[in-house]
């Protein structure tokens, strides 16, 4: 009998429901600006936090004791874990999932063994996906947990590690393609340094640029239509990671000719660790056509590490959804919950609470954002604020028709410009109307 047998399938019951295991806002088929909610959001459960992590932290052992933990590493045990995972996915009402190669099955002690194991479990996943209708938001290879990657995968000083990583990514990209995944993600957890003293940064970046180029070439070769995504994070586990934030990855992609081929998977928790608001990272990515997908898990405002908590900030999420709707929404991406229940939340039902709360907050934010779009005041304010750049001298400047001397002359002949209020408080109050 499934570990989750006693749990209900989460259902929509409306905003007034007091049932803690029901949705109050999430209705997948409800139309939002003419498109079903689920197509806007494409929400996703991650495999690793719910089915692999044992509830350990740096200072303590696992607390979870799930029945599938600690079994021998066989195909059978991997299938058993998958059975539980897919059962749970269905209870949550969330239609997508995401996984690393090593989440699904042990990769054994050699590349060939890993490939073989991965193929076998991929077949099993394929069957379950067909049966349940669940879809793969993205796949990824774990290039950071095994000791061989202690000094990085693509950025390792040892080319043999680079090659090993290539072998692992090739297999997982193929599997992602086979399972119809929407995206393939690379998180460079060890692509950084612990100390600059032993590091040749440019050398390592050249390696990373090459690696990513190989992945892009392979994607095209196999006809994968999903998006290749990098996931920025400033640090942890290393002292400093090369994919620090959106802008840093932007520079990297520009430097290695990968713009247009690679986009970003932006995580709330990683944004705040990098000293940015989540909204900033989204605005930067949208402004540069770099946004691919989103990991909606938050950090703790007072803690300097990745806490990977379910979202709880309705206002922030609303503003991000508003930006997304304005920009036309996600394409192949979605909203993945790279989130884990707290180490003290040891029961099966806690997993359900976490996911229901997360997707419901996301749905509510979407509905709020829809109202902001329909209201139109915020957009109108911003548009009018920059109106001067859509006419006259403003247009000429941006078109490159005026030199520094021209502009100096113009300015000297015009009355000095006067400051205009930015109306921040009024706009902040306006937002409160929608949350």
């Amino acid at each position: 009998m499934s570990y989750f047998a006693d749990l209900p399938v989460a259902q929509f019951e409306g905003p007034d429901s007091r049932n803690p295991l029901a949705f109050r806002y999430y209705q997948p088929e409800r139309l939002v600006l003419g498109k079903p909610m689920v197509e806007h959001l494409r929400p996703s459960v991650c495999y690793w936090h719910s089915f692999c992590w044992p509830g350990s932290d740096v200072f303590g052992a696992g607390t979870f004791n799930r029945p599938w933990h600690g079994l021998p590493e066989t195909l059978e045990s991997a299938k058993g874990k998958a059975d539980e995972a897919f059962t749970f996915f269905e209870k949550t009402g969330i239609p997508y999932f995401a996984f690393h190669d090593v989440d699904a099955i042990s990769l054994g002690t050699s590349l060939r063994e890993g490939w073989s194991n991965l193929d076998a479990i991929a077949d099993y996943f394929a069957g379950k996906m067909e049966k349940t209708g669940l879809k793969l938001l993205w796949g990824t290879a774990n290039l950071f947990s095994h000791p061989r990657y202690q000094a990085g995968a693509a950025t390792n000083p040892d080319p043999a590690v680079f090659a090993y990583a290539a072998g692992q990514v090739r297999a997982m990209l193929d599997v992602t393609h086979r399972l119809g995944g929407g995206n393939y993600v690379l998180w460079g957890g060890r692509e950084g340094y612990d100390t600059l003293l032993n590091t040749d940064m440019r050398q390592e970046l050249d390696q990373l640029g090459r690696f990513l180029t190989l992945v892009v070439e392979h994607k095209h070769k196999i006809g994968f239509k999903g998006t290749i995504l990098l996931e920025p994070k400033p640090c942890e586990p290393t002292k400093h990671q090369y994919d620090f934030d959106s802008a840093t990855v932007h520079a990297f992609l520009a430097n290695y000719g990968l713009l247009g081929e690679v986009k970003l998977n932006i995580e709330v928790n990683h944004a705040t660790l990098a000293g940015h608001s989540f909204e900033h990272e989204i605005a930067y990515a949208l402004g540069h056509n770099l946004l691919g997908s989103i990991d909606l898990n938050r950090g703790d405002p007072q803690n300097g590490w990745d806490t990977d908590q379910f979202p709880a900030d309705l206002q922030e999420t609303t503003l991000v959804l508003y930006r997304l709707l304005q920009a036309g929404g996600l394409e192949t991406g979605g909203f993945n919950f790279d989130a884990k229940v707290r180490r003290q939340s040891i029961d099966a039902v806690d997993m359900l609470h976490g996911h229901i709360g997360g997707v419901d907050l996301l749905a509510r934010a979407l509905l709020n954002a829809e109202q902001m779009i329909l209201d139109g005041q915020l957009a109108a304010f911003v548009q009018s604020r920059y109106a001067g750049w859509k006419q006259g001298m403003g247009t000429d400047v941006l078109a490159g028709k005026l030199s520094l001397n021209d502009l100096a002359d113009i300015a000297a002949q015009t009355p000095a410009p006067q400051p205009i209020s930015g109306r921040q408080e009024m706009l902040e109050n306006l937002v409160q109307r929608f949350v």
Copy 2:
């Protein structure tokens, strides 16, 4: 009589000197790896903190009461201030200085008045520079203090402010050229946002890209041979500035076709506010051929704003100098002290203590770095760590001769790579030998 009349001219007295107003390490003409110390360092005093700032902070009035504060804003008072400044520069033994247009003289109430005032005081500076031999490390225009720039200069929603800023920069770039300045710096103190709610980020970046292009074009037009520098800073005064850190500026320059034309002025305090070590920012800039010049003032590790203190970390400065020497050193740049004495350090002698301590620590770091270069162990370790990439498969990978499939095949046919110690503790101990 000068405010500084009682102060001695700082002299080198050697490491054992107990004279607090003497240099223990700074000997401008001492050869370091064959080049005079002063040519390596090109140290610079900034005009603003020592001669314009009154010792105020957000919670308190100015404490300094220098004789040149509070005088009517005339050419005479500007000259008087310049007399004091140049007297002080000579006492410090530091051969370069840097200034904003508004530091030198009031710009009055119109662009034309500003141009005229600036021209007049530039003539006076020219005379003093000729007489004293002091040189201009860089010039810059203040595009952030006047209320007209409250919403940015180049990134202002009002094109008229953009034009006004163009007028100001044109004049100051011309003056910098006339005074033989080594560089022209743009710090975008208001080129950012206070709230995303009223901001079109991409629009503003397009404006900023255009502005910088105009500056570069003007530089070439007038034949200025110095370097155009952007100065990264993540925030303060705005919530978020567009020139967040080196990598962000890198992305910006790439996006607007300005690589090769514009470099970076990296400040210690700005690096740490952005969540990086100073060494990281330097390594990033050197690795991408972006390093122009350095502001050596530090922040406080526990304070989240720009404290602009004189440097006090010999080890950090040593490691930066080591990187610089390895990379061939600065070209047009130098080490500017964008540093201010504490608000409680109200006497003339405090200014001298600050500058002597700063330049002496810098000189000592240079001598340490020279020893590290001569020792060679650190460089040899790093080189050997990446040796695998200079031969065989490593070379082929970087040359693009192998596909993902090729590498997967190779890896599958080779024994799995084994981890190698990064020797961080040994290297950290090695560094202690030189500080």
Copy 3:
């Protein structure tokens, strides 16, 4: 004519109002758990940010140009400013205010002149308060802006500065008493250090303990029934302030025998600068009977200085109100908006937007908290979680009836305790129902 003549008096229009200058939630007389909203909240406008601060920051001049700025420092100009302030207070519908001595009028160049000026303007305030019904939440003396306080007031190395501060506080405490103020606040903006190198910390704390004791003694002597409050802040303007956070002040009060006499004025922005959540600081203060009053202004999550913004986090404010209602609410304290409009918000109407938004969010949070209290689920969960401590061995332990040996023996004879879920996700979802 008043600067604010064109502004309406803010009125309650209900949640559906689209009028940006109306309240949607704030109804002073609405009963919340049987007590009028206004008595729960006692909201307050601060004098300094709205009527003294010119819109300057560290990098720029004032942008506000209010008509009362820059006038000669006379009693007449002070009265004129007060006229504007009280007019504005009435427009906001907020019934309390707070001020420093120097906000109301210049203190001139001697203590006697300051006393005389303060007396005169206090009379004028008294008349306006009688006429308008406005009340004083708290008074305070500014012991940080004048250069004499550069090295602290009570903690100054010079006892003469301590005495001067005593003279200033005596006068302002008397005035606060005369105006019927509910509290007297001491914020130790310079009671800290810029460097430990020149500081004798214990000596300075002894001075501060003495100073506070003198204030408490004086309070009793004059029969002031309000509360003496310290306001924790970790740093800024100094590198480190002695009133770092609630717990640090708690230790200080315990050390100098001031518990029971002095409570805390907790500010959101100061809490977060100290590395705590606002909710934590409130919980700590309530748990130790230390909470006096609250400054509701928030900081920016990404900025490391005091931004003093109007509140915008409904969830956080709701949770704080919930704790307050549970604990019986504030006594002499209230919710002061030590908040300023952004430097770009230069119009009169921006001031009104800020205050309306702030008080409306506060009112909404109160209504949310009322629902949480009525719902009772959260309180019941917490109570049941600790139920073991209200019976049997739990009670005996807390009563001191069992030794370490006793407990060891008991534990050895009982089955090892099993972990119980903390249900964090369920509780977080529950909170979402009320915001």
Copy 4:
């Protein structure tokens, strides 16, 4: 053969030695201000990081593969590990060590089994200590790793967990006493909260106060002469720990009547995580007679978690040693290296590099501090800065002879005090002379 057989015993070779496995400064018997260096420092190796931690982190498996890892949990394997540990201790030349109960041996599945195991290994330790002369700086019980402590030990909502913890501490305190330990440390790694939503903070603090009282009573009962120490840390693993920093623990001890009975074990890394400099925490503790012992491991300035690195900041360590020497030094405490080699430092020699570097930096700092004491300038400056408080009105104020009114009168009759320079830059330069 020992894992460490190939490593040399570290020897003093003097500052010019280029031998990376020799001491350049550490000479245990060298007299510093008349006392042997080793008695000043009492340096200590920790058992856990070097002999229990496998080199894992949140994102990756252990990298170390020490021969004693992964063995069956028997007394024999515990003895084998102890043999290796003591061999290593002797190679480092460091005379003290520290350990948790669970570091030495598995505690099995019941309290009784744990007691029995601990007793057995304690006997073995006693024998090795006698043979080698190694001494125990402190002992401690691990009340945070086992799942039963997920919600705290003393602060657990379940009194049975409190009792279990009592059983564990009783045993380890007895063992510490038996082994002649200098101190007994309690680090409350789970004594905090993950969310305030399910937490009664005051209830938990009352439990913690009781627990600590029981420990103190037991100490006296068994005649343990060492010091009971709490170790402040602001967070990690929990969101917020109750022993946030020195001042918070100070308040806690005052509140539960434990001042004089309990002191602090201050860790560099914990100080900086709490937003303080290391020097601040030491100054606070010394100023309040709270300093017990020191953990010298540092954090990374850019990382928001406990990195537990060996010290590398000579200047900071020098200033702390200077303060310590001034205050008379440590009593039962010492300098423990709660430090681990980096996860990439996988070889036996890396462990030796780490410890040699740490103790050598500490020794060098001590020698620097000795010079600062002998020089006397810094102390003289501070003393003269507060001279006004040792005479006349200053003395009367501190003696409580003057009221607020008295002081106001005095101040009004005296010329207003004038600011005096704090000479921060001069003092910072002075410090550079000694590092």
